[in-house]
């Protein structure tokens, strides 16, 4: 049985439908992420699970029990807020002891459990400090310790890393994964950062306009986006619109707008062979494109020619923006893996691109 079930939940604010008939299940011990642009309904959904808001219709069921009418304090669910929401008038120890005191834990048990929680987040020496005396990363860890100290069934995290700088963020991501594995508590994580969603989660629900566009493992969401929104929102993606000209046994031929003719394989999920005349979209990740000054495409490759419009040197990789001769603008990624000084293409250089027939993911319609 799933730990948490969301059944046909909707929530409307005036004219705005924040959550539109959403259903999903989260299993025990899972690291589940709701990702989407701001206003997609992910935070509203989280607040309804926490009990700060109620669904207009539908049910939220935790361990088989309908949570309707259960106030936040009676739910075995804790939240890590974006602002951390540490009580400024209490020390770190008092903050972490708060949920234990509310749960009427015996006094002689509170001390060791607070100490243990501080140990878990490696802040054993900071117990007597006040929140304002801590760094952002430390506050984050106190918020985690406080929310986990009496082992809730479910931990909700609302963009907990949004306020941290990039370096600290990556470190905290690793700590989060480790912490979740150690304590075994189910995490539901809300973020607008698709990279974070991919890095942390067992499963991701991509939300937009109050509905779930796709719910799957990170590699499936990235590799086989269900529609144009998911392809575009998760990672960087070339979206090439085109018309099917002929269909074969295992692949088909497309006339891609502004690019030219290319062979492609049917949608990996539906496996439906498109019919000639049908429109569709070929999604292709920049790292799946080969880019070279001159190249002879292999038999299983498509190719096109163009000129470098611009490039972004990112250290590990370089992103090239290429204007194809046929008119389209595409993005290709080249790893800077060669030893010695990497040779770049300059702006205006003529280049050729090539990609395998099965490199793209075709979206019907």
């Amino acid at each position: 049985m799933a730990l948490l079930e969301i059944r046909n939940v909707s929530r409307r604010f005036g004219d705005f439908l924040a959550v539109d008939n959403v259903s999903l299940e989260v299993g025990a011990g899972e690291f589940f992420t709701l990702v989407g642009p701001s206003g997609c309904g992910k935070t509203t959904l989280l607040r309804m699970i926490a009990g700060f808001d109620q669904p207009d219709t539908g049910q939220i069921v935790l361990e088989g029990k309908n949570l309707e009418g259960t106030p936040p304090e009676a739910r075995n669910v804790h939240t890590v807020f974006q602002s951390y929401a540490l009580f400024p008038h209490m020390t770190v120890e008092q903050n972490i002891a708060f949920p234990l005191r509310m749960a009427k834990t015996a006094d002689d048990q509170i001390k060791p459990r607070v100490a243990e929680a501080l140990e878990d987040v490696r802040l054993a020496d900071k117990g007597k400090r006040y929140p304002h005396e801590l760094s952002g990363g430390q506050r984050q860890r106190v918020a985690l310790a406080r929310a986990l100290v009496n082992r809730p069934k479910l931990l909700l995290l609302d963009e907990p890393l949004a306020a941290l700088d990039a370096k600290l963020k990556e470190q905290m991501q690793l700590e989060l994964i480790e912490l979740q594995r150690e304590v075994g508590v189910t995490f539901i994580y809300v973020t607008h950062d698709q990279g974070e969603a991919l890095a942390l989660s067992h499963r991701i629900a991509v939300m937009n306009h109050g509905i779930i566009e796709q719910l799957d493992e990170p590699s499936k969401v990235y590799g086989f986006p269900k529609n144009r929104f998911v392809a575009d929102f998760i990672g960087t993606c070339n979206l090439w619109e085109g018309t099917v000209t002929s269909a074969g046994e295992r692949d088909f031929v497309l006339d891609l707008d502004g690019i030219g003719t290319a062979r492609a394989i049917p949608n990996t999920t539906t496996k439906a062979m498109p019919q000639p005349g049908q429109r569709g979209c070929l999604t292709l990740r920049p790292e799946k494109l080969r880019i070279a000054a001159d190249l002879a495409p292999l038999p299983e490759e498509n190719s096109a020619a163009g000129k470098v419009h611009d490039f972004l040197y990112l250290g590990d990789v370089t992103i090239y923006i290429v204007n194809l001769d046929q008119g389209a603008r595409i993005e290709a990624m080249l790893p800077n893996a060669a030893s010695g000084r990497t040779r770049f293409f300059e702006v205006g250089d003529p280049v050729k691109i090539a990609w395998r027939v099965d490199a793209g993911h075709f979206i019907d319609g």
């Binding site: 936040p72 669910v77 974006q82 929401a85 009580f87 008038h89």
Partner: protein, 267 residues
């Protein structure tokens, strides 16, 4: 070096503006300084001559039954009015913050803007209508009426500066609404409540207009007593008692400002 000089000259105040602000400050503070200085003047006449330093007038104050009585009245009224207004004003501030109704702020905050004389007259009429004899009780009720708004403003501004998710976090971690209020909200708005209480006390202690209208024949407060004294002649005792009153007010304002810097801005 050159850079530093330039930035200095950029922030330098122009001479005419400096002169003007000095003149304004002198106009504001010279009368107060005169009162303080003359409270230590040994000469009885107020003609301006200096008769040497003395503490006689302060000593005389201690033996002036009428003034002491008025002071006691003022303190009783101030403490009672501040206590009641703080409780009611805090509740009003919480309500203003929680319920975003359009009419509520107007109703709670209007007394700040209504002319005092108008409030005074309406209170007298009200007390007559309910057959309440004018005296200490009517003064306290009147002071409560105009202090509530000030307390509410300070408490609300304190709440507005508070992270909304703190209360939610308390609930989330197992606190009932009442526990969340008592253990998180209340301690965090306490500086605002204390500042509001001090302000209410200050406003009550030196109120004249409303007190004048709502006091009975035998419930004179300090400001009323001072007024009746200077109607006859300005005695140095008045200077002394005014100086003390000024000192008390100043201390309270400074404390209030220390506790909640936004309190005085709200006023």
């Amino acid at each position: 070096m050159a850079g530093a000089t330039r930035s200095n000259s950029a922030t330098r105040v122009s001479r005419p503006l400096l002169g003007l602000s000095l003149a304004v400050y002198l106009f504001l503070y010279i009368p107060l300084i005169v009162v303080i200085v003359y409270s230590f003047n040994a000469s009885r006449v107020q003609s301006g001559e200096w008769g040497g330093f003395t503490l006689d007038w302060y000593n005389k104050l201690l033996h002036n039954e009428t003034l002491l009585n008025a002071t006691l009245n003022s303190l009783i009224i101030g403490v009672a009015a501040a206590a009641i207004a703080t409780v009611l004003g805090t509740l009003a501030g919480l309500a203003l913050h929680r319920y975003k109704l359009r009419l509520l702020p107007v109703l709670v905050l209007a007394p700040v803007a209504i002319p005092e004389i108008l409030q005074a007259v309406s209170l007298v009429l009200f007390f007559n209508a309910i057959n309440l004899t004018l005296g200490m009780v009517s003064i306290i009720l009147s002071h409560v009426a105009f202090c509530i708004s000030f307390v509410a403003i300070v408490v609300r501004s304190r709440l507005q500066g508070m992270d909304e998710s703190l209360t939610e976090a308390a609930r989330d971690l197992g606190a009932t609404p009442w526990q969340a209020f008592r253990m998180v909200t209340l301690p965090l708005i306490m500086p605002g409540i204390i500042a509001g209480a001090l302000m209410a006390f200050t406003l009550s202690i030196d109120d004249f207009v409303i007190t004048f209208f709502t006091s009975g024949p035998d419930a004179a407060t300090l400001p009323l007593q001072i007024y009746s004294m200077i109607k006859v002649v300005v005695t140095p005792e008045v200077n002394a008692v005014s100086t003390l009153l000024m000192l008390l007010t100043l201390i309270l304002i400074i404390i209030a400002n220390k506790i909640a810097p936004s309190a005085l801005q709200a006023k």
